[in-house]
């Protein structure tokens, strides 16, 4: 018989209570995975979206709370293209619109934009000068809306024809509808405006040169902010706020899990006062008895976190497939993230056992043995 077997038997003595406690921990862990995973999925989708388009720097209106709320005069694009070190510039109008019951991302690109070349056309073609009311759909979006090349989409009293379906590495891009810039400007009543300015640099890997260009751009255009793509996600206030909210809810869920363990172990210790007295009488040191109680808590946390990881992964995939969120979350998990969750659950188990274990250490064998 192993030491751990004794802890396991003690938990199994009250299977319903132990299972419910483990379930409580599982829900806490699942909440952590689902919420933090969602935040990270959004970050990842944003990051992949920009890297998939070969963008090195992004410009948007200074002090915008959220990038989509940025509005820039389109004429700035030409001025930026003349700055030394800038290889190519593209003003992009972007927004979220509802089509049917779902929310989709829309982007407007000028006809001469380098961004068109980043699309891998699976069906149909790129828009030409004779396609003023045309659109390209990402493959995921086309599947979600069940649209094919040649179909039309009614949008703000204009019928837009789907002329192509494209693929891209980023889930966010694949869930986007791309229209010619003038059409989207007209549809959104934002003539002459763009949301962001996408820049390609001649030497993107030269950190010093990139920083110098960024500094120069910030000087020349004081109303705009220029960030390298890796900084954009961190600068997005909406994502930051979303992350903070998710972390707060996760911490509350974890605390609830901690109290589940604490409560269960306290009850277990109170029920087994005499048995603890027997162990002490038989020569068990208090540290060993405390370890027994702590192992019980850690077993609960381990069982709960194993179930929680499964529930969380399934839950997050389900969340990512929801109509309103499709494409905005890329539910991919890193080993590091899962390790973080396991570590958090282990800490939960240890913290939840400290007080019951301390209570155990305070018991006097002679008093404990008198208990019935």
């Amino acid at each position: 018989m192993y030491f751990l077997s004794i802890s396991f038997r003690n938990l199994w003595r009250r299977p319903v209570r132990s299972c419910l406690t483990a379930l409580g921990v599982a829900m806490a862990v699942a909440t952590l995975i689902a919420l933090v995973g969602t935040s990270r999925g959004i970050e990842r989708a944003w990051s992949q979206s920009m890297s998939g388009r070969g963008i090195h720097m992004l410009g948007f209106r200074k002090n915008s709370v959220e990038i989509l709320s940025s509005t820039i005069d389109q004429r700035v694009v030409d001025q930026i293209s003349k700055v030394d070190g800038v290889k190519a510039v593209c003003g992009e109008l972007a927004d979220l619109v509802t089509i049917g019951a779902g929310v989709i991302g829309v982007a407007g690109w000028p006809a001469d934009s380098f961004l068109w070349n980043t699309l891998q056309i699976k069906k149909g073609r790129l828009p030409g000068p004779n396609d003023p009311n045309s659109a390209l759909l990402g493959q995921r979006l086309a599947e979600r809306l069940n649209l094919r090349v040649g179909d039309t989409i009614p949008m703000l009293e204009v019928k837009i024809e789907v002329i192509g379906i494209f693929q891209q590495a980023s889930a966010l891009n694949e869930s986007t509808m791309i229209l010619p810039l003038p059409l989207l400007q007209k549809l959104l009543s934002k003539e002459g405006k763009v949301t962001v300015i996408n820049l390609r640099l001649f030497h993107p890997d030269d950190i010093n040169k990139a920083a110098a260009i960024r500094e120069r751009l910030n000087e020349l255009f004081p109303g705009l902010s220029f960030l390298e793509t890796k900084e954009v996600t961190e600068a997005n206030q909406m994502i930051t706020l979303f992350k903070k909210i998710n972390w707060s809810i996760s911490v509350i869920a974890l605390l609830m899990g901690l109290f589940f363990i604490l409560n269960t172990l306290l009850m277990a210790v109170n029920e087994r006062v005499k048995e603890i007295g027997i162990l002490i009488a038989l020569g068990w040191r208090k540290m060993r008895v405390m370890a027994l109680v702590m192992f019980e808590g850690m077993l609960l946390a381990a069982m709960g976190s194993a179930a929680g990881v499964l529930i969380g992964l399934v839950g997050l995939r389900r969340l990512a497939s929801l109509k309103h969120l499709q494409g905005f979350i890329d539910p991919a998990f890193s080993t590091f993230f899962l390790l973080e969750v396991v570590l958090a659950a282990t800490m939960l188990g240890i913290l939840g056992t400290l007080y019951p274990a301390w209570r155990t250490s305070r018991l006097r064998a002679v008093d404990a043995l008198k208990q019935e």
Partner: protein, 233 residues
């Protein structure tokens, strides 16, 4: 008789801030290899004395020496008990979630590090008390006599020089009580294991080399074996 195994010098124990005197100025020696029987009526302080003798409780006054060493803390006593003292309780005190085999292994944790070693030793001990066939039964599925035999096997787990038995036949029928006393006697005579037994049963009290009669927390009679004992007669 052998050298001193356990020695109490002017030991007193009070409860309720001194209002209740459980033991008063007890001086007593247990010699290696002897069987000491502590008798006395209910409430006379027998169990308190037993608890003080093995450090489950600490005296308010006086000293307790184990092998001429005076343990100072409960932690020191715990280590000492693990290696040197086996317990047999009136209520058996087996852990209900563990089988007979597992209960016998409990005192071995921290002493015998290998799980296989613990299991082997526990099987040998159950063999000694003739309970191998019940090794995988939970205490609830054993009779009172069988439970006490498991408890005796458990008390022998670390081959202690001393066994403390607190009313070992108190919860048993006469036939089972006889078997338990025969078993304790065998352990005492075969291995020269020192036994300190508390009882208020006059028949059981006949066992042993010496008797201590405790009345109102004091040693009333301290007869050698065979001396007239009004309590027993």
């Amino acid at each position: 008789m052998g050298s001193s195994l356990l020695r109490l010098q002017h030991v007193s124990r009070n409860y309720d801030q001194g209002n209740i005197v459980a033991l008063k100025d007890i001086t007593l020696e247990v010699r290696r290899g002897e069987w000491l029987t502590i008798i006395g009526p209910s409430g006379s302080g027998k169990t308190t004395l037993l608890n003080l003798m093995c450090g489950l409780d600490l005296p308010d006054q006086g000293q307790v020496f184990f092998q001429d060493h005076q343990p100072r803390s409960t932690a020191e006593w715990a280590g000492l008990r693990a290696h040197n003292v086996g317990f047999v309780f009136q209520a058996f005190n087996l852990l209900p979630t563990l089988t007979a085999l597992e209960n016998v292994q409990i005192p071995m944790f921290g002493i015998c590090r290998s799980a296989a070693g613990r299991r082997q030793r526990a099987l040998e001990l159950l063999q000694q008390v003739d309970l191998v066939q019940r090794a995988h039964h939970l205490p609830n599925n054993l009779s009172g006599g069988e439970r006490q035999r498991v408890a005796i096997a458990r008390s022998l787990a670390n081959s202690p020089p001393l066994i403390m038995a607190d009313e070992p036949t108190g919860n048993l029928d006469s036939q089972s009580a006889e078997q338990i006393m025969a078993l304790l006697n065998r352990i005492h005579t075969q291995d020269r294991t020192t036994i300190v037994m508390v009882t208020h049963n006059p028949l059981v009290a006949r066992m042993g080399d010496r008797r201590v009669n405790l009345v109102d927390g004091r040693i009333a009679i301290y007869p050698e074996l065979g001396a007239a004992d009004p309590c027993i007669s």
